[in-house]
């Protein structure tokens, strides 16, 4: 997260310097006009800007931060949320986790698919509905935290895509979740 912020401010700095440099270059070529143009003249004299220090490290410009659209949300720190048996409500732990997810998602700004999953108990059909309830509960909470609704799609796989195999509570608990993925 911090790395993203730093990258963004660095980019901003580089961009600003480049713009200023361009303006000063054009100013050099048409100095007479600049002095008579009130719009340009309103700005501070460009000559006072110090030479860009980052110009010696052009490779920084290439680093544009995480390639969010091509990463799985887990790669940039979005964590799955787990549910109780037959439940789709969010407990305190889930809400805390979703607050952290919300911050990351807002920064990433890409569309994310929230898929609801269930353990193997119960029927295919009811689990598809239950899985969607889970995905929807997560989506609604993220939207309440300020994540754009247009950024969040939901779906349900019910019990069809288990994360862990096995007929025991350990496996079941791992499989009752809302998972975040690239659409």
């Amino acid at each position: 997260m911090n790395r993203g912020w730093m990258t963004r401010s660095m980019l901003l700095a580089v961009g600003l310097v480049l713009i200023v440099a361009l303006v000063s270059l054009s100013g050099c070529g048409k100095k007479a006009e600049v002095e008579t143009d009130p719009a340009v003249g309103a700005g501070e004299p460009t000559e006072e800007v110090p030479p860009p220090p980052v110009a010696e490290e052009p490779e920084v410009v290439v680093d544009e931060g995480p390639d969010y659209p091509n990463l799985d949300p887990a790669d940039y720190g979005v964590q799955d949320v787990y549910f109780g048996f037959d439940q789709y409500d969010l407990d305190d732990e889930s809400m805390g986790l979703l607050s952290r997810n919300a911050r990351v998602m807002k920064e990433a700004g890409v569309v994310i698919l929230i898929s609801g999953h269930c353990d193997e108990r119960g029927t295919i059909e009811y689990n598809l509905a239950l899985g969607e309830k889970r995905a929807r509960a997560v989506r609604d909470y993220l939207v309440s935290l300020g994540v754009s609704a247009g950024q969040l799609k939901i779906t349900s796989y019910g019990e069809s895509k288990p994360f862990a195999k096995g007929n025991n509570e350990d496996a079941w608990a791992i499989n009752r979740r809302a998972h975040f993925e690239r659409p």
Partner: protein
Amino acid sequence: MSLSSRCILALAVVFAVLPGLALAQGRNSEVVIEHTREAYTKTDVLINELDVLAGGVASADAAITMSSVVANDLRLSGLFRVGHSEGEADSLEFEFTIEGTVEGPLRDADQTGENGPITISLNLLSYPQRQLLMNKRYRPLPSQMRATAHHFSNEVIHWLSGEAGMCLSRIVFSRGSGDRRDLYVVDYDGEGLLRLTANRELNLCPSWSPDGSEIAFTSYRRGQQGLFSLNTSNGKVRSIIAMDGLNYGADWHPDGKELLLALSQSGNPEIYRISPQGKILKRLTVSKAIEISPSWSPGGRDLVFTSDRTGTPQLYIIDSDGAGRRRLTFEGRYNDSAVWSPNGDQIVYATRVGNYTQIVVMKSTGEDRRVLTDGRWRNSEDPGWAPDGRHIVFASDRSGVFKLYVFDIVEDSFRQLTFGNDPDITPAWSH
């Protein structure tokens, strides 16, 4: 017949005392007797080998295929016991006999003429009088031999019982694991397995159109559900509807002109009637609860579906306008996946007992509830009716992986329909 039937019945009861026998795997054609619920009678039929009048290897193969497929069909109907020689007259009381002739092209196996049509004549006669009751003649290609045998079996079953045979019916289901499951179809006797989709997606919950020309099913595109239709003659898939959220649980109306479907576009799943082109005709349920898994009554006037409006999933019936809601199940805290029987008098569904899902059959009034599967079955889900109203197909993981089983609700016997290591789920039997 009655005397020998009683003997067999006594034998079956003895078998029931030995639980180990029930676990013996019946490969394809064998019926495993679990226990005998009530007295039933069967008709004994003697099936003789067909005479090969002319032809090469294909004709000899045809003769064997015809008699073995017909014998298996008659057994699987549950209505007959089959013998293959008069010597079995000690244990079986034959009332009828089937015999016939095969006449193929007079060419060697390595010549093209061998693949031409074969003339088959089949007779149903009384036994031992040998009075001709029915004669059928066919001219199938060698590749059509099983279908020809099934056709003849249907004729025999109809002639002898008055019931329409199901020997040409098929079961469509979803096979695979994770997010890749494809639709497959298999003949009702477990033969002729065919893969229908190959789109690297999750394909689920198929439903046959009444004439068998289309299969509606749910699939995913970019993670989102939609309802699609597969043309069974050319294999082409078209999109029916893809609303936001869930689009699943399709059930074709008996008239073929519309379908029931659960859509969650309103925020939670509700039951809708839609046209085969995907136009929403009517929304039938309005609630904040999960309302899913609709199934038409055979007349298409009412439907049974699942709602968890009381806090647990239970079965309800409404009419085709969404009116007249009445609750059908009060026993069990988790009831789902109801399907109405072909003649309307029964409903089969899945109920949860402990950690397992089991199959229940009851009258469509809600009376005479009977759990068909027990703990040995582990999970049994997604039941569907055979067209004869006597057999039920469902998926069970009793072997460790979900496979399909056919259960005879009159005898409480069953057979395994599909084999292999990939899970098979959501079967639907053609009409």
